[in-house]
Symmetry: C2
Subunit: 679 residues, 2 copies
């Protein structure tokens, strides 16, 4: 027997084995555990099982593949090629039969568990293993003599044809099942979800006949300020569209605690905020589906990452307990819902929603998502991950132990509470350099690639104007001011005389640095004031103190690597962050931006169901540190007020930058009592 069997070798997996001659390639792949996709179950309809046979000598595999190693094209392949076109060299795995020894390549697009390439620098590969997939089935017709429900016969077909057992369906699926089966003449395509929260598979949707379309998912990063969503193709993980909207809850309070207060002071306030955020998510879903040109009913999965307050407000749980010690979450584990339970009416009502677990009352599912994306728990070196937003979530650790905390940075890093601050939008200054000699700035604004001192800048920015400074701009501005000797280590801005530049203008008893005067064009006068410096100092002190607290907990005083996460983290340069003392000293080349790691975590959880179990397990092992009750936090906070720091050394920073040792304490500064100076 074995003599007559043919040897088949699949690449790239390298899996090999012998099968009886005449075995379809798809069948051989299944027998050998090779990852070869199929939606139609081998009926020559879906074309997902395309393979590329190799012919000739394969010394590596020790095999010669004859020209007739596979069966001739059959009618199904010929028809498929005629109607849709089969790329040269390709065969349909379910039709081509193995007639002799053969090497078969499975191209990436034919793999179920295909790997998704991420653009971000600190890429974790996403392996496709979505919870929701399409299954084409042929259902037995009803028989009066053996009565059974149409749904029971559908389940029997799924079990027999796809080995999927324990299938359940909501009422709206049961409602449409009979007409759909009859329209499809007892052939239907079913979207099934098998999440980790439910051993049972759920029918999400059913279409008559073979459904040509795709299933889509939304990965949503629900922030206090903005709600960002990525629309992903659940077959290949491709991001088809991304969109963001302002969180409409801002009208109830800029930051989280003011929203908690709103809920406490206004009966029903939490309900109002829940309605607002759900409405915005629906608008966002509609917009993103329109952008991508897809039917929003094909969005069958959604993952959410968010901080604990947003988590509760999304769920409709009053967040009042999160506003006071001991900051008790109503529920911390990951959660799964039907879209309809969260009133997400813009997408398929049976779509499954997965919400990542929260770590603690101050450390939410967004931080869990960062951990999923950046994997500190797998890191060989000691990594500090800061996700900078209105609150900063901080993770520190390596494969042995991971700590987490949250630190109340406030919104200064996002350009809020800054005199010329604004959200990142065209016209906002996002980059800034100051000549250390002349103290003159040059800058870039969002929407224009030119520096302000380059030819054509005025024309290029005429439409947007120069309207303010965004979060990354203010950080660069303060850092550059410190590096240029305009600001001293205590954070005090020098006067025109002290600095030697007319750009320093008196404002009451303090001074401000003029970046741009738009008066001529009717635009605003953009300055960095002493108040702005103080706001940035408070924010960065909180961030640094949180990181330091975790380092204390681990008994370390340096980290090997720093990952700046958050949409905003992508725009901060390592050097400027370290001049400000936002983060502990580290080799600058080891300070990297991870982009929106929380959003990436949401995408990973969307595309890979096993990743959900992984993060649930990881979150259970993360050790939480509560900054609000740690006396040392206050101490670290005070010491971190100086630029870069009153006590801690920054030797790595010192290798690339020498900060001028200036002091502008003229005795007239009201902040005197709070200032400390380094060395």
């Amino acid at each position: 027997m074995a003599e007559q069997d043919a040897l088949v070798i699949f690449t790239p997996s390298g899996k090999r084995g012998r099968v009886p001659r005449g075995t379809p390639v798809l069948t051989a792949a299944r027998q050998l555990g090779v990852d070869l996709d199929s939606v139609c179950g081998g009926r020559g309809i879906c074309s997902k099982c395309q393979v590329t046979p190799g012919y000739g000598e394969f010394p590596k595999h020790g095999v010669h593949v004859a020209a007739d190693a596979l069966s001739e094209w059959n009618q199904v392949e010929e028809r498929y090629d005629r109607v849709r076109g089969l790329a040269k060299g390709r065969r349909l795995g379910c039709q081509a039969r193995i007639m002799g020894d053969v090497v078969i390549d499975v191209p990436p697009e034919s793999q179920v568990h295909k790997q998704v390439v991420r653009k971000e620098a600190t890429a974790r590969a996403i392996v496709m293993d979505p919870a929701s997939r399409l299954y084409y089935v042929e259902v037995a017709e009803p028989d009066m003599h053996e009565p059974s429900g149409d749904f029971e016969r559908l389940k029997a077909a799924l079990k027999e044809q796809w080995q999927v057992a324990d299938v359940e369906a909501d009422l709206d699926i049961l409602r449409k099942l009979q007409p759909t089966l009859r329209k499809g003449e007892w052939k239907v395509t079913v979207a099934l979800n098998k999440g980790n929260h439910d051993a049972r598979a759920r029918v999400l949707e059913v279409w008559p006949g073979f459904f040509e379309g795709r299933l889509y998912g939304l990965a949503i990063d629900l922030g206090s300020t903005t709600i960002a969503a990525h629309l992903c193709d659940l077959r290949n993980g491709q991001v088809l569209a991304s969109a963001g909207v302002m969180n409409p809850q801002i009208r109830f309070g800029e930051d989280l605690m003011s929203r908690v207060s709103y809920a406490m002071m206004n009966p029903g306030g939490d309900v109002e905020m829940t309605r607002a955020v759900r409405g915005a998510i629906n608008d966002l879903a509609k917009e993103i589906a329109k952008d991508a040109g897809i039917d929003p009913q094909l969005i069958v999965e959604t993952t959410f990452v968010c901080n604990p307050v947003m988590h509760h407000l999304l769920l409709g749980i009053d967040p009042v307990e999160l506003g006071q010690a001991p900051f008790a979450l109503a529920v911390s584990e990951s959660l799964a819902f039907d879209a309809s339970e969260l009133e997400l009416s813009a997408i398929n009502s049976d779509a499954r929603v997965y919400i990542l677990p929260c770590i603690a009352g101050h450390v939410g599912a967004d931080c869990a998502a960062v951990a999923l994306a950046e994997e500190p728990h797998k890191s060989e070196d000691m990594v500090l991950i800061v996700d900078v937003g209105t609150n900063a979530e901080i993770l520190l650790g390596n494969k042995d132990k991971v700590l987490a905390c949250s630190s109340p940075t406030g919104p200064a890093f996002e350009g809020a509470q800054i005199s010329s601050g604004q959200r990142a939008a065209p016209g906002a200054i996002e980059r800034l350099q100051i000549d250390p000699e002349t103290k003159a700035p040059r800058f870039k604004v969002i929407g224009c690639d030119l520096w302000s001192d380059e030819a054509g800048f005025a024309e290029a920015t005429a439409a947007t104007g120069i309207t303010g400074i965004c979060g990354s701009g203010i950080i660069e501005a303060v850092a550059e001011m410190r590096a240029a000797g305009i600001v001293d280590p205590s954070g005090l801005i020098g006067s025109a005389e002290q600095v030697g530049s007319p750009r320093l203008v008196a404002e009451g008893r303090t001074h401000a640095y003029l970046i741009h005067d738009g008066a001529a064009e009717g635009g605003p006068r953009i300055t960095v004031t002493q108040g702005d410096i103080r706001a940035i100092q408070l924010a960065k002190s909180a961030l640094y103190a949180g990181a330091r607290l975790l380092m204390d907990e681990l008994g370390i005083d340096k980290v090997d690597r720093v990952v700046l996460a958050g949409a905003f983290g992508a725009h901060i340069s390592a050097k400027h962050a370290m001049i400000l003392g936002m983060i502990p000293d580290a080799p600058l080349e080891n300070v990297i931006s991870a982009g929106n790691a929380a959003g990436t975590g949401a995408r990973i959880a969307l595309c890979n169901v096993a990743a959900r179990e992984e993060i649930e397990a990881v979150v259970g092992r993360i050790h939480k540190v509560e900054t609000a009750i740690e006396p040392r936090f206050q101490e670290h906070f005070v010491n971190a007020n100086a630029l870069p720091h009153a006590v801690d050394a920054f030797p790595e920073l010192g290798k690339v930058v020498t900060l001028p040792d200036v002091s502008f304490n003229s005795g007239g500064d009201r902040d005197r009592g709070r200032r400390r100076r380094r060395g």
Copy 2:
């Protein structure tokens, strides 16, 4: 050690064993697997674990119980007795400790799996094992240093204190959990449901502290004509209230097929009918809760039995496929839902709804419920069970095999389509006797215990009047007319001359029998017309033909026992049913009424979760016979037209009644061609 251990014997279970002296009775009971209830987990709060210790000699058990065999009353028992009173001889099982050999009786009310006594004749005992129960737990307070959600700590408490794992909760429970835990100072009572459709336990409700109340369930028999509900205490199975309303879908069609037609002819008609029936169920739930004086929010479970069309209309599934061969159900298995999914807003929104499985497109969950109540699958003798309603469901079999079919009897048995027919309501004639000599009738009406020829009848019925004939009344009337020689075997009513009574009045070419002329009191003239006889003949032929078809299938020509089920079955006498030939000949003493067996089945499924699995398994084994496509059905139907039958012998009937061998075929009867006469 064992020497020092005390012997404890529990009655009535007889379970015995040795436990260390000082062991609380409740602990001993649990160790020995004795069924002793507790809601508070042994904290002396709930008093559900009351026991009655026996003292003195127990020769049967070979034990002497000393006066100090149990510990003295402790403070908890004293306080309980002071506040609520502890019946003489009773102890709290969680407080009394076993100090010496002892016999402990567990009274029925302290047993979890107490047995419920049913009033009905063919009672199947209901053993309490409800899916929903109360659990009192003490939950750990939140700890900032070990952050976890309140819900996770509740789950941990349920696992530790009650060994209930895998608990889940809907959003509305999560919403109220935090304030409830704090109000109860971290002690709460939880209503948990663990149905057979879900391995997971669900939180249905949560109360602060120890909840004194009870949980209730509704068993609903959703008929085409009426909706009947029983409100049950889920602790002891007691029926606290029963109520019924007309099915408001009647306005869309009297019988099922006319409702299916309505759905086919009117787009959205099914939605309209679904809305109507759900509304009526909500009204009924409110009414029944009000009757019983309970909070409808404490109704946490509902079971439904219904025919397939009502099943689909309850679920909101268009029943159109049920109106045409092959009569495919959308779904046939048992189903479980949240009350909110079926818009049952009158009861707890998290209440669990269980719908019994359907057997076939014509044989519904109501028939499954009859099987659950009457257990033909456990019968030693050959039993025929007929559930008489607008359709008759018929079960035939014994422990070896059970068959089922449905037969379209139409509404005549319910008094519809009868000239003087009316629904069973005060004023309706429900019993009737005819003097075989004088041909004069005497009758009883609903709402009065007197016969019409007894003194005081006129006064007693003055308020209601005599308004018509209900279903059981028309059957008695026709049977009595046949027995009195007013109707011949072909169903023809004789003329005044032929019968020898002026009560026979000509109506066109046929005759009618005058029962009561209410003209004097301004009431109706109540007669039985030839058309009425024909309607009853059609109905009873269908019923008999269905039963006969099943007998053919089993290859038998007699049954040992006949059970008449249905609210209506309770009012039919065996003799009258057999004179009409509604049912096959059988010893009259073996023809028994089971009352509303479908409703009883609903109650069993409500009170005993294992019964749900039982009926699901039984339904899978019942062999279905489709009357609509069986050629022999038509033949049986024609033969069954005669009273009692054109072919089949009724020897058992013959032992108690001799039917007059009359014939009124005068040649002028238009029905001549259809008539057949018995030998």
